[in-house]
């Protein structure tokens, strides 16, 4: 590959220990992220999609070093993020920033908007002190706010504007990687479009790289260049946006796609839908084999015994399913 890889994650595992049941009870772990590999190209948007409990947010937080990593390597440019500690880690943080889901709870209600955006620059010593004021004003303009709104407190802004402050704050330290953790799911539909358009414009203008976490397939399809589908801590399928959506291979991807209510009447009928039964199983000490097997309509003996590896089917399109043939034919219903 000749393209620049900005972030590379290898065999990332994040396990959380559970409380023991009694003094002699067995120690169990929540396998939140269990062996994830990602490579994100500079200037592109990489999406992780999945249901709640799939480990998509934990993956993002692990990249930000906001949760303890059990094992694996994370490389951002020249930094080995998984090995940095203390002051070194703090200095590396200016290269990666995060936009949170909920613009209501992620801004300090007692701090003025301008100070919120300025704080990362002061903390991480970005640029000259004298220039910071101008820089904050410029950031406000970039995200579509007026510079004079710096003096206001978060409650004086609407949800969409608050998310714009969140975006400005994330951009303040001039990061290479911006992690967007469900940046639009707490917003009203009309406001979502404003923020999505803003994120795309900023990417074009500033050459940002996004790691975009979402459960909304429509949004992911629109904004991401490459997408990984996660289920219970593992990537089950990965591909570029065209290939993944035109030829979904994994039964879970297929089920996710068929679950989305569609506004296009023509699309609704021709979809060969898979309906899943029940809820995702518990990620505490998951059983061997494919984790989707208990809900998969095609599952066979092999699926409950052996964990399927994530293997390439064609250029850049990977899938972890025993039943997908090597030339990329997904499992079919018998009828």
């Amino acid at each position: 590959m000749t393209e620049d890889i900005l972030l590379s994650v290898e065999n990332l595992k994040v396990h959380f220990a559970m409380k023991r049941r009694g003094l002699t009870g067995p120690k169990s772990f929540v396998h939140a992220v269990d062996g994830v590999n990602l490579k994100i190209t500079k200037g592109k948007t990489f999406g992780i999609v999945g249901e709640s409990g799939s480990g998509k947010t934990t993956t993002a937080l692990a990249v930000m070093r906001l949760v303890p990593i059990t094992s694996g390597t994370i490389t951002l440019g020249d930094f080995r993020l998984d090995q940095l500690q203390g002051e070194e880690l703090r200095r590396a943080r200016r290269h990666m920033q995060i936009i949170f889901q909920d613009p209501y709870s992620s801004l300090n209600p007692r701090v003025r908007a301008g100070a919120i955006v300025r704080e990362p620059m002061d903390l991480m010593d970005v640029g000259e002190t004298s220039e910071r004021e101008d820089r904050v004003a410029e950031l406000f303009r970039q995200v579509g706010l007026r510079p004079e709104q710096q003096a206001l407190f978060p409650h004086q802004f609407s949800g969409g504007q608050r998310q714009r402050i969140g975006v400005a704050r994330a951009l303040a330290s001039q990061p290479d990687l911006v992690v967007c953790d469900e940046p639009v799911s707490a917003l009203d539909v009309a406001i979502q479009a404003q923020i999505i358009n803003l994120l795309r414009k900023l990417q074009d203008d500033l050459g940002l790289t996004y790691l975009f976490i979402s459960h909304d397939l429509g949004v992911v399809q629109y904004i991401c260049d490459e997408i990984a589908v996660m289920y219970l801590g593992k990537v089950v399928e990965q591909g570029d946006r065209i290939s993944l959506f035109t030829e979904p291979l994994h039964p879970y991807t297929w089920a996710l796609l068929s679950a989305v209510p569609s506004a296009d009447p023509a699309l609704r009928d021709q979809k060969n839908r898979i309906r899943l039964q029940g809820d995702p199983p518990n990620p505490i000490d998951p059983p061997p084999g494919c984790r989707f097997a208990s809900r998969c309509p095609f599952s066979q003996d092999l699926c409950t015994r052996e964990t399927p590896p994530l293997r390439p089917i064609k250029d850049g399109h990977l899938v972890a399913c025993h039943l997908v043939s090597d030339d990329g034919v997904p499992p079919q219903h018998a009828d």
């Binding site: 249901e51 479009a193 629109y222 569609s262 009447p265 609704r268 309906r275």
Partner: protein
């Protein structure tokens, strides 16, 4: 001509606020016909949930009040009914599924008890019969091992399960009208699909009329036959779903459809910017005389700012309120 089962006419709901009187619903007409699913869509603050609460007569008074209008359930005006009569209607003839299954279930009673309570209140049956019916309802909404699950408490269940319990409770007395206020917002897509299938299925079996409140045009397309688009407490457009999706007349409806990236089975390389509706829903205390959408409307005329557009018929069973239609500009 089929008689509507539920008919809302010229409804006006006001709230006293520190900034003066907010008109949260104004001049709203909605009819629900037997056997249909009617969708109501709009952003937050457009009066969707308040419409539902008005039908249930659950608008908090004070600070709110229903200032004007009628809501007729098979001819009976619910706004004139006594509180005693309303208690008979709620949960019986009309019932409601709320947005948040976690906060609308009582944490200290088992789910079976909560469903049985509705049946006990409305049907005059004994405790054992009511419990039996509750278990049957849990079975009907697809909860496995209903006898055991009925004894469990809400915290022992997942979000999807809780929403199924809510649905079981709402349908326990075979209501004629079921109001579903954003029934799937807190749920994952695969679970949402299950709940939608369940609602459609139960609707076919029981023949109840469903009023589905949502902000998701996709959900409307999937579920409803007719849709009402609301903005700032007013109906701006209504008509058959397929017609509105392919041929929206009001700029707000067009904006609502265009602002969401719709999932496509064959995406293209090119990605056009999403239509955005600039600004936010205005504070309802400060609505002027004109079209409430005018300040955010890219096509607004001078006239829109000071005069309310009348409702025009733009197609079969399709109406919209916009000056552009009056002026033949759409």
């Amino acid at each position: 001509m089929v008689e509507p089962l539920l008919e809302i006419k010229d409804l006006r709901v006001e709230f006293d606020t520190r900034d003066g009187v907010a008109t949260v619903i104004d001049g709203l007409d909605i009819s629900l016909y037997p056997g249909e699913i009617l969708g109501i869509v709009g952003e937050s603050g457009c009066g969707k949930s308040m419409t539902a609460l008005s039908v249930m007569r659950l608008v908090p008074v004070p600070p709110g009040r229903i200032a004007k209008g009628t809501i007729r359930l098979q001819g009976e005006d619910l706004l004139q009914a006594s509180e005693k009569r309303m208690r008979e209607v709620r949960g019986n003839a009309i019932s409601m599924i709320f947005q948040e299954p976690m906060t609308s279930l009582n944490p200290v009673f088992s789910v079976g008890d909560q469903i049985a309570e509705t049946i006990l209140l409305h049907e005059g049956v004994g405790k054992r019969v009511a419990w039996q019916r509750a278990v049957e309802m849990l079975d009907a909404v697809g909860i496995p091992a209903p006898e055991i699950r009925a004894r469990e408490y809400p915290h022992q269940m997942s979000g999807g399960m809780r929403q199924r319990v809510m649905i079981a409770m709402a349908l326990a007395c075979q209501p004629r009208v079921l109001i579903a206020d954003e029934p799937t917002t807190a749920l994952d897509v695969t679970v949402q699909a299950q709940i939608f299938d369940l609602l459609k299925d139960l609707q076919e079996k029981t023949g109840a009329v469903i009023m589905l409140i949502t902000h998701d045009m996709g959900a409307i397309a999937e579920m409803a036959q007719r849709v009402v688009v609301m903005y700032a407490g007013r109906k701006v457009e209504d008509g058959p779903v397929d017609e509105i999706l392919t041929n929206p007349k009001h700029p707000y409806t067009a904006g609502l459809i265009g602002c969401v990236p719709h999932l496509s089975v064959n995406p293209t390389e090119e990605r056009l910017p999403l239509t955005d509706i600039p600004g936010v829903v205005p504070p309802l205390t400060r609505l002027g005389k004109g079209c409430p959408f005018a300040p955010r409307c890219v096509k607004a005329l001078d006239k829109c700012g000071w005069e309310m557009p009348p409702q025009s018929v733009v197609g079969e069973d399709h109406r919209a309120s916009c000056w552009l239609i009056e002026n033949d500009e759409i």
